[in-house]
Symmetry: D2
Amino acid sequence: MLVIMRDRATQAEIDHVVANLKEAGAEAHLSVGEEKTIIGVIGDRGIIYNLDLEGLPGVEQVIRVLKPYKLVSRDFQPEDTVVAVRGSEVGGGALAAIAGPCSIESEEQMVAAARAVARAGATMLRGGAFKPRTSPYAFQGLGLDGLKLLRAAGDETGLPVVTELLDVRDAEQVAGHADVLQVGARNCQNFMMLEELGRMDVPVLLKRGPSTTIEELLSAAEYILKGGNRAVILCERGIRTFETYTRNTLDLSAVAALKSLTHLPVIVDPSHATGRRDLVSRMCRAGLAAGADGIMVEVHPDPEHARCDGPQSLTTNEFELLMASLDPVVGIEGKSWGSL
Amino acid sequence: MLVIMRDRATQAEIDHVVANLKEAGAEAHLSVGEEKTIIGVIGDRGIIYNLDLEGLPGVEQVIRVLKPYKLVSRDFQPEDTVVAVRGSEVGGGALAAIAGPCSIESEEQMVAAARAVARAGATMLRGGAFKPRTSPYAFQGLGLDGLKLLRAAGDETGLPVVTELLDVRDAEQVAGHADVLQVGARNCQNFMMLEELGRMDVPVLLKRGPSTTIEELLSAAEYILKGGNRAVILCERGIRTFETYTRNTLDLSAVAALKSLTHLPVIVDPSHATGRRDLVSRMCRAGLAAGADGIMVEVHPDPEHARCDGPQSLTTNEFELLMASLDPVVGIEGKSWGSL
Amino acid sequence: MLVIMRDRATQAEIDHVVANLKEAGAEAHLSVGEEKTIIGVIGDRGIIYNLDLEGLPGVEQVIRVLKPYKLVSRDFQPEDTVVAVRGSEVGGGALAAIAGPCSIESEEQMVAAARAVARAGATMLRGGAFKPRTSPYAFQGLGLDGLKLLRAAGDETGLPVVTELLDVRDAEQVAGHADVLQVGARNCQNFMMLEELGRMDVPVLLKRGPSTTIEELLSAAEYILKGGNRAVILCERGIRTFETYTRNTLDLSAVAALKSLTHLPVIVDPSHATGRRDLVSRMCRAGLAAGADGIMVEVHPDPEHARCDGPQSLTTNEFELLMASLDPVVGIEGKSWGSL
Amino acid sequence: MLVIMRDRATQAEIDHVVANLKEAGAEAHLSVGEEKTIIGVIGDRGIIYNLDLEGLPGVEQVIRVLKPYKLVSRDFQPEDTVVAVRGSEVGGGALAAIAGPCSIESEEQMVAAARAVARAGATMLRGGAFKPRTSPYAFQGLGLDGLKLLRAAGDETGLPVVTELLDVRDAEQVAGHADVLQVGARNCQNFMMLEELGRMDVPVLLKRGPSTTIEELLSAAEYILKGGNRAVILCERGIRTFETYTRNTLDLSAVAALKSLTHLPVIVDPSHATGRRDLVSRMCRAGLAAGADGIMVEVHPDPEHARCDGPQSLTTNEFELLMASLDPVVGIEGKSWGSL
């Protein structure tokens, strides 16, 4: 941590900061320049994280050199984490293709979707049983009944299933039916949910929140790893910006950056990011070219009658074409699909 | 709802949209212009909310005229909602001054803060027992012990107490010790928590999330009112933008806008919005001048040793000066402090 | 400038950075911690500004302690700059009320607007002759003819006139007719225009661009002061964020922050920021309460027939009410209207 | 254009809007629903563009169906525009690889860069003679001398040259030395410069501004086409968002979207977007995979001593590796490099 003092900071102000640091158990190293004095702070991680010096008299700026996360960083673990789920893998060169409907609507719909995506090469099946919706008047999902339909469709096709955990109180129940628990974008910094998942033994798919920075996303993942659960997959699904033509702005530079900052696998979700079916395929290709370890795509046997997110869902036929079109980008960094 | 067709949409595409609408139980009214056809959609609220027509062939844009909320709107209830809490009021001309430390640290700190803010004219006491922190390594609050200290300080000073509910599983317990439950910015769209609070009989202080639009904030409040709980106070606490000099950007236009869109009281939290002690007082005055029904301010008897958010906390002395400085703006719209 | 090295930076990488600094003429001070080495860089302003060390091997982050501006800062000049224009003043306790139509449309309109705003207490008259419009098909202003109408209206009412300079090639001509030249938001970082204005002897009203940071705005003003022209008024007019209910987001925290960072006067333009007539008055009051040195408001004798920005223009009657409503906030920081 | 009236709009308010429309020369079509009345507006493009109805009593929202641009849209011209420059092409299946230093520093540097990028397969050479810099104290470029060095290096290698036009007054002079004139991000909505370029006969590379929407970028291009110059290349170079790890956020969804909205070629500039050398190659691959018609990359023979943007510049060796790595993505949509 570095404390930059104002140009005209007095000696008393500098002494006061130094005394404050010593009291907290940290060491202070002064560097006195012509215009500015800079105080380097050295000490235990636990002490440094809790120092708030910005408000002291004479302080201009405080620079935190220590990252708020540790276990998720590549500095801590240089080799890739591989998350293995029922014969499917993601990370360490294995790519995931997670596909399925936004919401589970019926046995017929779920089975049709599952068969189609399995045939086209998907490595995991997705489906939402509990739907977070902006308006309380919109369709909220089938709940537990939906979960059972998803499980059955997964069993039939042999695909591991991914579903969102919306209520922390349901964690055990949902984990009883699903192979991967998804933390939705709006819960990215729901620390109680993250801590609960940290205590469980189930792979977690953690979506970046719409205004979560890269550093905050990694800190959120740190909550899970700190609890003991190391099977975390990160997912870039678009950030909120001023541009409204697309629903969100898919931040592929963040994917490239995350690949060097962390050992965790990183996938992209162009369906939610763009909200527009006609952009999904191009953004899947772009995502893999940017270094992502997989894609997550909404596929519906009949998008026009989908009860949720129809406009961004691919038909099963479109998904088949998409998977075929990914061939040139799959191998760019020497990766391959992670299904066994 | 309006469906704008593309310039070259075919008759078959138009017919297809119309058939789709009829199937869903809605009515279609065509308006055929020289360049474009526009389809007006009329029907039941429940049907309209679940229509997703953006992906149909030939559709350029879908405009939702119907708001995703209803009970919170001024169209539904023109007169102001007044939230009354143990002899303190907010809304309908009554202003709230909610003050206290970011986190509860000790009995001594809590009592000193409570006495000072009560003396200076605060109408409610705040304090955090469960702290949501970006990093799992930062101080996480005293928990239940903190709640008891807050309750005692409130009882001694006669101030109602406000505290954040961080874990939906603790709702009943926290409500047993606090008078107002705060939903933090990161939980603004935690729909499970909102639904739980909708079923309870306790005033709720709902903070706008860092990237929540005005419409989404109102929809979040709608979840609570729809459950039966009408005692909701909205709080603008800064949105996330590209500007980093301040921690967030306090969106006072949103306050002015909310006052005409909803009957619920709206307060501002300049401490979290700016993250800088030297900007807090000016932004409190600006907030009330913009039409807010109150302010929420972090006050600490010894900010330099605060375990959380010290840099943005006022000293008890600064808070006293702030309250005195608010006189000119309090009466602008004919309001007055809501303490009895 | 501080160079933070990566955790595992080698000695060779550190030596390489130091050698690089020496070659450029700067001094390096090493601070070797347990986990990280930090290099403090000391040297001449001209050298420091041009160092780009981010890409060197082993470098994690470069922190620029030196601000990119100097003449505009309060550190350089603690006392307020007062910009005086034909018997009107802004800054140093003098408040400006700049009012008039978005675009000059006719002699009748301009004279009616000028008389009304003068009567209501405006200290300067505004009007656009050259209109920057998103679409090339929208009304682009009356040009030179408009300028002459503005000048005449100003002369008749005794108000100094403010107008936008849109084309750097017109600088001398526009300065021949106007008392204050406005640099529009889209030209905030048009450095050629800023340099030209720096060489002229005319007060400049510099609007913050929609995505210009506080630091960039101050650096833009620095271009003008560096050229020798010290009569600069800054104007906050809303930044672009994800919120679309208002046209832009009026950043009043930036106003409060600018007042401590710079000695230049700072005004607010709620008309352009909100784009909504019903929010203008509240945001004018909020702006002054936040510490602004004035307001800039669009007023039109007949907004319904305005050729530009009618929806955000006040009627002359509304402006009169607004001015009267400002009384409580004018004196908060001991200021008064700057008309002589 | 559609005018949505408020729920409780009176008949008088509706009549007033209709009268207003008729007076302006437009037709009004009423659609009276149970809760709302919607007024469809039909009329001449010139009339519609200048209607500002938002402020009329009873009006809730105005929806503009007509785009602010026309000539640049695919509806107007379905086939791709191909911009041909001295034996190099971009658009219509031809990909551009524009490479060279951020700023021209010396003959030696320029020639070394030019030879290296030509050898590696670049189709055009870039170099900045006039540098727009946030701070007036940073290196501002060599000016006319730089232009001559660029021209010479282009002539020697046979590559067409691209350079930024910073001052509209220099348009003719710069066009005398360069093959393509670049409009920088900060000038994206400098309408005077766009109009000037519209009157000239020189290809233009128009960069998207940091907070320019897709619609505004297309409207800016429309200014040039409207003037008669149809040789415009669009360039996505990152938008400004809350994320600060990368300098800007490269918006590749916008690239995919632009390809369907316009017939103009669209390229990407990952160097400026990310500001980080280690992300450039991945984002070039992602950009082409997203459908871009080319890349623009900063290459410097000795980035550590570059006077501008060294941290994001590739070495000549890295550029060679990048070009080789693009093979898998070049052909995805059946495109090929546009050098003859």
